[in-house]
Amino acid sequence: MTLLLIVLLPLVGSLVPIASARSGRTTCAWLTAILPAIALGIAAWYTPAVFGGQLPQVSLDWVPALGLDIAFRLDGLSLLFVYLVLGIGLLIILYARYYLSEKDSMSRFYAYLMLFMTAMLGIVTADNLLLMWFFWELTSLSSFLLIGYWSHLSEARKGARMALTVTGAGGLCLLAGILLMGHVVGSYSLTTVLEHRELIQQSSLYQPILLLFLLGAFTKSAQFPFQFWLPHAMAAPTPVSAYLHSATMVKAGVFLLARMYPVLSGTDEWFYIVTLTGLATLLYGAFFALIKQDLKGVLAFSTISHLGLITLLFGFNSKLAAVAGVFHIINHATFKASLFMAAGIVDHECGTRDIRKLNGLWRYMPYTTVLAAVASASMAGVPLLNGFLSKEMFLAQSLEAQMLGGLSWMIPALATLGSVLSVAYSLRFIHDVFFNGEPRDLPKTPHEPPRYMRLPIEILILLCIMVGILPGIMVEPILRAATAAVVPGQAPEIHLALWHGFNLPLMMSAIALSAGVLVYLLRNHIYRFHRQFRAVNARQSFEFSVQRVVRSAQWGLDRFENGSLQRYMFLLLLSAVIVAAFGLMDVPSMAGLKSLQPLDPVVVTGAGILCLAGLGTVMLHRRRLLSLLFLSVVGMFVSLTFARFSAPDLALTQLAVEVVTIILLMLALFFLPQKTPKESSGRRVSRDILLSMIFGGVIASLNYAVLTRPLQSISTYFIENSVPGGGGHNIVNVILVDFRGFDTLGEITVLGIAGIAIYKLLNRLRLFMPSSDMEGRPWSPDRYPVILSSVSQTLLPLALLVSVFIFLRGHNLPGGGFIAGLVAAVVIILVYMSRGVEWTQRRMSFNYQPIAVTGVAIAALTGLGSWVFNKPFLTSSFGHFDIPLIGDIELATAMMFDLGVYLTVVGSTLMILANLGKVTTPHRPSKEKQ
């Protein structure tokens, strides 16, 4: 469990700077550093165990159904990276304290940094591929925030966006790769995946998996041809560059190579893709590092070059090469972080990063000069420094690579060329900036930086020297542990030493050093050569292609989404009918085997009226009131249809809903135009008629096909269990309130929400009031018809009684909460209509919203109640009670639930209708006003 803290503490730590923003800059920095320091302590505590070959693991279920666990592991490779991420992270926190100016929000910077640190730690310690991917994307997002930290600069915003696009796209590739791998292995657990090398490599999906993983790694690690985002990410504050481009962000890619090395490497595909990409990146980066005039640009390209080197080492398919790769990860992180920090000091104290202006700084900052010189020497591979050791290993390994056949000699040759260029640009970084004449037009007079700004560099440089001189003591244990995680099986013999005797790699190193000096001296020729080429601005072409994609997406979208609902409806219905028609085409014959029922005259007449009323509704749809009357006939006959075909519950519900619907539509029609203008073209009308006829035909055929086939229903269960399980004889009602009570709960919630939404929609509605009906006659001044009002008043108590009766018997006979609620609503509406809103409101002064809400709450609480008795949600129970006078009564908790349904229906229906009625009232002409 302690293992979780390594990731968790920095995550919590991202809140610390925000909380301590007001406590001063130094305090803020110190407080921020506490939690990662503790995490580092925990890592140190685990170190002996990891060195001893143990594998601390922790695993919590997150989404087990997806195979996603919160699982972490701390093997040697993870431990190495945890040290790098936390150690360099702490130095960056210290450095940033002095780098950021008063204007920059320090708490925001630290919060982003800690978030990023969390993400990196998550990647390196995750023991579940999906979890690792989660953190992988989190690094893309948090690096976006960090690179774009100076969000007022267009460069920073564009650089951040570019980094996010490239690494985010790579992340998606990685996800696809992970999903495929999970499909092959059957688990996303890293521990399991690492055990299935054979399975993965023999799978037909191996090549796609490899490609997708490599795309993820190469985009993150800025490998050719995805290297272009990295130089533009230099728009970030230098502490960010020092962190992201030395120990973290770009190392995530090579970490992935190392992590997946046991299962993905060893094949020809791996060798060719990884080696050639690494080689191309190594040379490309090295060449441009020599050309760039921007101090950070030089470092950016040198980073690309070194990442290429590491990738190349992993590509070699040799165990020792992988060891060299891991070793170079450590070395590069230390010297590159210190170089970036040194560049940041120069930028900070001189106000520019232009190498053409920066000259002879050693006079002004001798101490920084020494530090930068040592770091550069390490980068160049000068003996006694750590860079030398891994470079020697690299050169030695390049000699071993034999996969290119007769052309294999090219690999060591090109590797030496890369080293030559590396020496040249390292020399340039030192000589051009700190020596070579006097500074020219610097915005500031340079001087040494504050003491503590140098401290992080000093620590790193010390490490570089110590590792360079005493590699056996300093890095061998951790390298051995990390190697054990990368190289499966028999660990190769690691023997780190300064002196291996005179051999070919040493020769190559010597050639690289001397030729590097020569190349540096001849640099002006290279500049001149380079100037012939037209400068390609990666950012411009990137922005251009992004805009082109956006434009074409917009174009495509506009074709579909033109703002016309009619068009959407048409397309939607057309696709629906096509899908349904295809399904029908597979059926050999429309009519099934079931014998047909005979027709009877009543049904034929009813069907005739139903169809005519439906057609009438359509024919007269321009005259809206008439159309509405026909619609009510349709509803009426649908209700009769239900009654005819053994569904009394449905018939009752339909009848009540019909009344309410028609009242509602009539009220609404009052505010809408009474006629529909003729505006559709003939073509559109015939197109619509055709579509609706086809649709009707398809539905009718489908319906017929179903009706004439034997029925297999799952309802036997409901019929058998209705009384013993639900305690009710009316199966429909028992299904509603018991078997499928959760459904019903959802539905009454929707009903309640619709009521509340309507209430809000009617709020402050501006209306167009007609003063006369569609024939131009003024509205009747007769305010409330006397007969109707007296009848309705008499009817009210009776109808409410009926409603209660229907409700009570609903569990055993046709009826129930829905129907009873609708009956109650209808009769109250009748009173509203006959006596007017004001009269009714005076006598029934309550709001309907609380009723509807109470209804939903009662139903939900009834469901929750079963939890008290340790039963699943909405389990019902029932019992028989003997009440004097009334007799044997059966009470079920389902009754409570049904009460909730009842109240919701009454509340929502009245909320809709009464509120709509209220809107009309002030506008009604009346006798009093005339």
Partner: protein, 115 residues
């Protein structure tokens, strides 16, 4: 009987579809209502169309399929809620935009100027 039932469902569907394709809000609402009748009839018939059956236990008659009935019952009520919402939305659109066109265009302003 089955053929007649299917025909009625089909005709109601066609009527509903035609009206939902109109360009003004009120006919669309009426069309949706018609369509929901058709859909309810269709769903209801998935349990077979039976005469003289029942869904009450121990009433001595053969059972009709209660499941489609329960589903359609809630569908009817939800259908009402949706019709109500859509028609009030139509009123609100007319109130705010001065038009009852389904595309929500202002009467006085062609669509192109909206951008």
């Amino acid at each position: 009987m089955e053929a007649l039932y299917a025909t009625v469902t089909g005709i109601l569907t066609a009527c509903g579809i035609y009206l939902t394709l109109r360009g003004r809000t009120f006919p669309v609402v009426v069309g949706l209502t018609l369509l929901s009748y058709a859909v309810n009839l269709f769903l209801f018939s998935m349990g077979g169309i039976t005469t003289g059956h029942t869904t009450i236990v121990d009433s001595g008659q053969p059972y009709a399929d209660p499941l489609p009935q329960a589903l359609v019952l809630t569908a009817i009520v939800i259908g009402f809620a949706m019709t109500a919402f859509v028609v009030i939305l139509a009123m609100r659109t007319r109130g705010d935009l001065g038009s009852d066109s389904v595309d929500g265009q202002r009467t006085d302003e062609p669509r192109e100027e909206r951008k």
